[in-house]
Point group: C2
Chain length 332, copies 2
């Protein structure tokens, strides 16, 4: 394991900021995983922000996380403003054990914060041979269809299923044409963003990441993507008792209170209705992969496959950290 030193220093930083060793490790693992799968926007570049929020008492480093058992299948978790990684990790583990026992589980989490990549938690369920859906809301970034001000977060919907092979099917898709994290990384590294994915604060298309951050991101496919983002806000925010309707605070620039993000996991066994799910999905994927391809495409990939390949490629490589972030790391 090439990055053991890096992991340990992240653990040490979180411990210095008051987290227990166990919670610090959960956070470090999630950040390192994001780096390894190539989602740098959700990786170490966020560490400084988390520490700042802890310092300002907006993230509780020693949360008293409460479980409210509604039934064997249904649990509400009050994360007590814990860091999102810890809340989501505890939540998915509860959802997994519940689903294993009863066939299907639903776990709502309130008073949480940004938890990184949805796929990271869904993958845990899939490794237990379960199917999982995960919904989480996020600070305003996307304009509802017809509005010129943002209100929805990028609000990812994540779905995972075993594939009968090592690379799981993990669809982790935000409802915006571009991930907000990617805009942030572009801003930090001085790069531009693609055309027609965002507007500036005057409603004009822009490729400048800083102007896009002040402005509005566009939803995928107009009314449809706007509706999907709204659905995610209802399921993760309205339904769980968390902030919703544009009230989730931006972790980077709103220090007036905790985020109170909501998450929802729905997890179930693959064999509820068929005995040979893994064989069936293998056949399904095979049929798609056999289709004639458009020019320039050598292989049709299923969601999650590329990420898994990056994981395999990078897991034994040293993570490269930009100098600015390395400096931040030393200061923390």
């Amino acid at each position: 394991m090439k990055n053991i030193k890096l992991i340990n220093s992240i653990i040490d930083i979180f411990k210095k900021y008051g987290l227990s060793k166990n919670h610090a490790k959960i956070c470090a693992d999630a950040l390192i995983n994001a780096e390894i799968v190539g989602a740098k926007s959700h990786g170490i570049s966020r560490l400084k922000m988390y520490c700042e929020r802890i310092k300002k008492k907006l993230i509780n480093p020693k949360p008293k996380i409460k479980f409210k058992k509604i039934s064997e299948s249904i649990t509400l978790i009050d994360a007590n403003n814990s860091i999102g990684f810890v809340a989501a990790d505890i939540g998915i583990k509860k959802a997994i054990s519940s689903a294993k026992r009863t066939g299907i589980s639903i776990v709502g989490i309130k008073n949480s914060g940004h938890f990184g990549l949805s796929g990271y938690y869904v993958e845990q369920a899939v490794k237990n041979n379960l199917i999982a859906l995960c919904f989480t809301n996020a600070p305003p970034a996307v304009a509802p269809y017809g509005a010129k001000k943002s209100l929805f977060g990028t609000n990812p919907l994540c779905f995972g299923a075993p594939t009968g092979s090592k690379a799981p099917f993990i669809l982790d898709t935000s409802m915006s044409l571009i991930n907000r994290g990617k805009i942030r990384v572009a801003a930090m590294t001085g790069k531009s963003i693609p055309k027609y994915v965002a507007l500036d604060k005057h409603g004009r298309p822009t490729t400048d990441p800083n102007r896009a951050l002040e402005g509005v991101q566009l939803p995928i496919s107009g009314f449809k993507g706007s509706g999907l983002a709204w659905m995610v806000d209802i399921l993760s925010g309205v339904f769980t008792g968390s902030n919703h309707g544009g009230k989730v605070k931006d972790p980077f620039d709103n220090f007036t209170g905790p985020q109170n993000i909501g998450h929802l996991f729905i997890v179930f066994k693959t064999n509820l209705f068929v005995g040979n799910f893994n064989k069936r999905i293998k056949e399904n994927i095979k049929r798609v992969k056999k289709l004639p391809k458009i020019k320039g495409v050598s292989e049709i990939l299923y969601p999650g496959q590329n990420k898994y390949r990056r994981y395999k490629k990078n897991m034994n490589k040293k993570i490269i950290i930009p100098s600015q972030i390395l400096k931040d790391l030393k200061n923390l």
Copy 2:
């Protein structure tokens, strides 16, 4: 009720084709509802197709529908090649009663057929103050991202929730840029379809509905929409034991066997985690509606709101049927 004569003649037609009075009524109600909400592509224009499939013994007019109770929350329904309306109607009613008892239910349906509008069933759950998700697959129409041949259906995802007002939140969104039914109606009425939503069989953009039907529909937002359509195929097809991976037969032009479509309902109570869901969602919708609007937009609508308005407007009006379809009706 202006359309009682029309309903009765549809019931009579289905009875003539062997359906029980009860099943015939379920079908007639669903078709009439599609007409009233303005989804003519899913209305009476399809009646001839259903009758043809019954005549060719591809739809079973007297199905022996079997329930396999997995737990209080989990049921598998084998629809025995019933007409989709009946299978879905029985399925959602089972999901509703289960969710009311246990908090959450999951109902899989196999050996079913095209069931019309997903929103029609989800609405039944919402009227019972429940939240519902519905997934169903469909015959090949959409090309997976990277492929030049269609394999996924338009594969709608439908989500519904109460709003604390009469018009429910019903997001019923196919994963294609245009509904296949709309292309069919355009073909029947000699109209053209919008640009860049479909390709002809040679992979060229087309606005000719007949060429689009021979060709390929495009998914919303490229890889994201393709992934969402794939998710729906896994949940409704692979997971329930139904046809999947491009094997669902087109009801209009493939008479080599039953469709064996799969449906999946996940239904749960609004008050699992909060006591005031309706008040919370009302506040959520209010916040979105208050946003500044883009030029030309006078009101921001939530999914389902427009459909509800059409329903209110049309429910006491006589349904207008194109002469060709009226002729078909008389022949049946």
